[in-house]
């Protein structure tokens, strides 16, 4: 049971990574002058759309929440709408947090907001897919010893590593190297992406190595 879960986890993660890589290379076939640094905003949009789509598709195909029972259409619709609202809220709250961290309030609003959207797709979208719009469950997953399945464990790892990546991504900004990627928010978005990818790679491996020690309450 567990091993198959880990295998499925690995495959889904590989697909996610693949989608990010595609979002870097495919648009240059269709768009002129496309590069991550020059047309950063376009890349941000494409990347977040790709990752969201892949996440949704994977969720529908893999169905990690085995216990989710059949329910009516209206329930599903309200749930979906709730998810959308949650996603928007997370975008705005990330934006607010960035401003509180020192991002300029008025200049570069679009950049900051798109960065917030990207970070939301890396963190909130998987959470919404897996846990649904349920704040208590989220807090449970993100507190110590709160995870109940392999999926939640990997979710915890990828989300935290995305945040840490973003956090570390802010460090090169004050350095005086004068590189194009040191401009806000490019280094942070790159940091978030690297963190997300690293989380995707690490989590299956980590879970595999620690599968003996990991005991989940429900399994």
């Amino acid at each position: 049971m567990k091993d198959t879960d880990i295998k499925r986890l690995l495959y889904t993660h590989l697909l996610c990574i693949f989608s990010i890589i595609l979002s870097i290379f495919i648009p240059s076939l269709f768009l002129e002058n496309f590069s991550i640094l020059e047309t950063h905003l376009t890349w941000l949009c494409i990347c977040s759309v790709c990752v969201t789509a892949v996440n949704l598709v994977l969720y529908l195909v893999v169905k990690p929440n085995a216990s989710s029972r059949r329910s009516s259409l209206s329930y599903k619709v309200t749930r979906f709408l709730k998810c959308c609202i949650y996603f928007l809220m997370s975008c705005f709250s990330f934006h607010i947090i960035f401003v509180l961290y020192g991002a300029p309030l008025i200049e570069l609003v679009l950049e900051t907001f798109l960065f917030a959207v990207t970070l939301s797709t890396f963190t909130t979208v998987p959470c919404l897919c897996l846990l649904g719009p349920n704040i208590k469950a989220w807090l449970r997953v993100f507190s110590r010893n709160g995870v109940t399945s392999v999926w939640e464990n990997s979710l915890q790892i990828t989300t935290i590593s995305s945040f840490v990546g973003t956090w570390l991504g802010a460090f090169p900004i004050p350095l005086d190297w004068e590189r194009p990627w040191q401009v806000w928010p490019i280094s942070c978005t790159l940091g978030a992406t690297f963190g997300y990818v690293a989380g995707l790679v690490i989590s299956p491996l980590w879970i595999y190595w620690n599968r003996k020690q990991l005991t989940y309450k429900n399994n």
Binding site: L100, G146, P174
Partner: protein, 983 residues
Amino acid sequence: MRLGSGTFAACCVVVEVLGVVLFLRGFFPAPVRSFSGTKHQAEPPAPEPSAGSTSNWTKLPPPLFSKVVIMLIDALRDDFVFGSKGVKFMPYTTYLVEKGASHSFVAEAKPPTVTMPRIKALMTGSLPGFIDVVRNLNSPALLEDNVIAQAKAAGKRIIFYGDETWMKLFPKHFVEYDGTTSYFVSDYTEVDENVTRHLDKALKRGDWDVLILHYLGLDHIGHVSGPSSPLIGRKLSEMDSILMKIHTSLLSEERETLLPNLLVLCGDHGMSETGSHGASSMEEVNTPLILISSAFERKPGDVRRPEHVQQTDLAATLAIGLGLPIPKNSVGSLLFPAIEGKPMREQLRFLHLNTVQLAKLLQETVPSYKKEPGFEQFKISERLHGNWIRLYLEENNSEVLFNLGTKVRKQYLDALKTLSLSLSRQVAQYDVYSMVVGTIVVLEVLTLLLLSIPQALSNKAELEVPLLSPVFSLLFYLTFLVLSAIHVIVCTSAESSCYFCSLSWLTAGGVMMLISALLCAVVSALTKVFVDGKLLSKNAAHSNAQWSELDLLILLGTVGHVLSLGASSFIEEEHQTWYFLVSTLCLALCHDIYRNCLLGDDCELQRSLHMEECFGSATPALQDKNAGSAVLELNRGCKGPPSLDALRGFEKWMVLASPWVILICCRLLRSLNQTGVQWAHRPDLGLWLASSDHKTALSVLAALSLVVIFTLVQRRCSLASKVAMALGLLGVYCYRAAIGNVLFPWQQDNKDISKGIIEARFVYVFVLGILFTGTKDLLKSQVIAADFTVKTVGLWEIYSGLVLLAALLSRPHNLPVLVLSLLIQTLMAKFVWKPLRHDAAEITVMHYWFGQAFFYFQGNSNNIATVDISAGFVGLDAYVEIPAMFLTAFATYAEPVLWASHLVSFLSSEASSGSALSHACFCYALIRSFPVSAYIILVTSLRYHLFIWSVFSPKLLYEGMHLLITAAVCVFFTAMDQTNTKS
């Protein structure tokens, strides 16, 4: 001997301060000085060299110019004259530079580009050491040999108008003077009119030999509105017209005298793109230097590009021009174009004099001077010169003479250049021995602190300090012997002067004993840790302490901050690091709070499970203690829930909201003062408020801030100090109104700006009164035991006295910083630390982090230029050294000190455990000594870095000062702790 951990930490920090002082003394060496004789004219000038026949030129050559006018424009950047701005706004100067009888140079000022060291460099020709910046606050009379003193000794009459600094540097040197103070930076017309109004009279009178004018207006404009401000152009035009006036007057006068006159236009330093100065950017370093005299003939069409020279070169040139001996410590070389028009024999004579002076200086400062290439070149050129003189006196063919003369001249110029370069490099010589000794002391202290963490943070908060164990005393004597041997060897063999060797033997011996004693302590602590480690490893399974996310963040943040100090940009932008860490801390607290509020039940569940496990185990007798500790830890792990659940609705909401409120406050403060380097030019609220157009807004804000300060502080004071506080804060407003920063509603015009001495002293009385009441309460609580509230009130009163002092000293637009720091302290204390029950160590670190962040919120940076010197003059008539230093230091470090004193009063009011204060003291000492020690090592390894003087050294001074203040705070902690244990 058993010591409380607080006392132990205080002792450690005090010792560490000693080590840092020693290190600093070694790191900032005394500048190149000729100590052989401070009396002038003691030695006769070097005679002209000659081979065989004797020359008749043994006296100093006569002056080249009859009158010299030095027009110094503060912060004149090279492109203000030579660039497009010069063409636009300074047409006359541009004409002189391009077509007139002049020589123009770009003179490079060595950092620190601050006015006083630059004036010294211009007049002495020496390079003031970095430590002179610190003395810039003090500016004592210049004792070194300099052009002004030489001129006065030669009976020249000197007139000076301009910046007061000159009068402090050269007291009684000027026959007539009028100083303008650079105290009010926002004034840029009056300072210059004060200079110019004397000009006509002085030019007409003509009974002087040297006229010095120092114009400050340009610098003030730069500080207030930057180099691209339209005011700059107007000021430059004004300066241009003044230059024209002086020049025409000098020219008309020349007809009557035989000798030509000289007009020197120069800047002391440049101006960075943000309008400040002090560092070493190209804009700050490059200044124009223009010598104008009818002696400098120029053929039409002779285009001269400004040559790059050193600022120190002016002193030698002026000395030669006035017929004076060159200042002894001058490292500059004569500006050759100035003497180009003279006959060959005189040219060589001047070059010889300059080379002899430099060679003598080299001889006195470098022990192995004979191996220096400059010295060899000097010897060769002197010999060639002698040959030339012989040929000359024998009256040989003039063409041969001329060709040989040019060769000698070239040789001399090369020698000058090499000598000057190697002498300038001497300044950066480090006194490595003192540095090493200082570093050893600091590192030993840090190791000792680190090794004693487990003991010091235990519940008892006491640790064993072994002093008299026989083995270690053997070790002690051995180390002491070895160290003394090393000391003798180093000090007898060292060729360069070394501070530690120049100390008396007794003091040096004391330091040696200290080092060996510390070594013994470290060794014994190490053995103890090993022994304990073995014991601990047996039951390691049970005692692995759970690290909360907060602890992890604190640890990583501290380590990360220390690592970041290795990069110069991170030092320049250190405020960003702290803002970032504090924001992250708030988010971490937020996460903690929300988890505790929403998931309280889970923790309870876990705890009960754990209890069952432990009590169900087979060997209860042995495991009892472990189980107890485990439960304790679990309690710590989920400490929040019981108390959080008990909170009422409003308070619960406040708890939930407070991290966000704090974050918003921090973000507001961030936009108040832009500091650092990269973003310092961004517009900020502070600058907006400080500009004279928004005086009303500033007044309202200041009044509001003072009211809020009162409401926040008064709640725990006694009645008397409440009244004193209110009156004191009123006095602060009156003081600001008196010096013209803010307005009274009933008095719209700001006519009479005074120094506000009476108002400031009025506030000082209340500060002292409140501090006195606080101390009295503390003493009372010590005598009458068990009166706990009296002590809390006393501590709070001391804290509020400090708040009042800070309110007086901080600039009016910085009062919101004070308000928000008080607000955040209140919020954190009431809604975060108390309900979440953080332990003393965590609270201490949080206080420290906030203190650091607020240090930068105040507008400070790691650059000396941001120190607010005006705080040292509050309530003082004239410059009085000790109070001024104390006030400046307090104003700079007000926020860290306030956070520390809040920590004391908060911890002692929360009487949860008796050891909280000593834990806090220990943590405070540790968290400060860690960066200091790391930074000392970093700076030592980076001592040849390009930015060592502009970035790393100022930071080192800041670190040293901060450590000193930490030592004071720790001693205060310990004193409080002592009263605590007694009562």
